[in-house]
Symmetry: C3
Subunit: 133 residues, 3 copies
């Protein structure tokens, strides 16, 4: 198994397209399964179209589904931070994708994005593990 940890900066956007980071990691190799894991308890990974407005739609939908208010038992961090801790239950932080001949397999409009509504910490880490086969 081959591994890499990549830093992701979420200070400019709550939804960051990391597809090129994954493609760079698997390039030049053979076939296998790529496991992607956001190493945080308030972040998730999604496969979605990026660059057509869905990032803003996603942030709005998540803030509606998981309102950032004082209802939460989890009270560490900023007000409403309890909502951030439920995000990875709905948007899981672990994802496995096929790699063929050193290329990540995705549908035409699919991109891998990191989703993190937690503004307290913009320095995020994503781990990549490729199991060759």
């Amino acid at each position: 198994m081959r591994s890499r940890e990549v830093p992701v900066d979420t200070s400019r956007s709550r939804v960051v397209d990391i597809t090129e980071r994954l493609e760079a990691f698997v390039a030049g190799g053979g076939d296998g399964l790529l496991n992607v894991l956001a190493l945080h308890a308030t972040a998730g990974l999604a496969l979605m179209e990026s660059g057509s407005g869905s990032e803003a739609d996603l942030v709005a939908a998540l803030e509606r589904l998981l309102p950032r208010d004082d209802r939460y038992a989890h009270r560490h961090g900023s007000p409403g931070h309890g909502a951030d801790h439920l995000l990875p239950v709905l948007v899981g932080p672990a994802l496995t994708l096929p790699v063929v001949a050193g290329e990540l397999v995705l549908g035409t409009w699919q991109r891998v994005v990191l989703v993190d509504l937690n503004a307290d910490n913009p320095a995020r880490r994503v781990r990549l593990d490729l199991l060759a086969g």
Copy 2:
């Protein structure tokens, strides 16, 4: 790694049981992990009971959680299509399952279903990759 792409027709139902397609693909082989990937930006995969009404319940729940109206920044396609582009964030299109002695391992009532509320395109493709081990 052994791969296959299977077509799935969603014209008669928004939730299509594809378990038998997966079972046919892994039959006769050994052990490994099966990766399943819906190659679309508006589709997801779920593990659920099928044939007991939950398909209709799921469509109703998703239309409530992601209303099909004009709130979305993503404005390509039919009205409300922005909702379709959030579906794969809640219902991820990638799934990995164990295979033992050429048989897919599932709980008694678990089935693999393709979920796609996007009526614009009923011709869908699901990719199967089996990493033997």
Copy 3:
């Protein structure tokens, strides 16, 4: 591939931390990908912080997102049980995680939890499959 099935008792909590069970299974081995599968049609697996109140927050959020009332077409089991059958669509029962030198790789606050709001059956089974690499 190496496999184990572990029983999980959900009678005392709807959200049960099973991380130590996974760690015990992979201990002493090498590298690989660990597939975790809850073998039930009303259970899910999540990666979240545990022990800080988020378990109760999660139960409250799921009961709000999937109300336990008589709206469901699926009518087997207790009243509102149709909601339980939608839970695994939002909180998927299959999860794949990296293992390095016999240790499960997780972020500092990440724990693996079984989520099951179905009070009808507290005896649950989770399957573990490790594909070495």
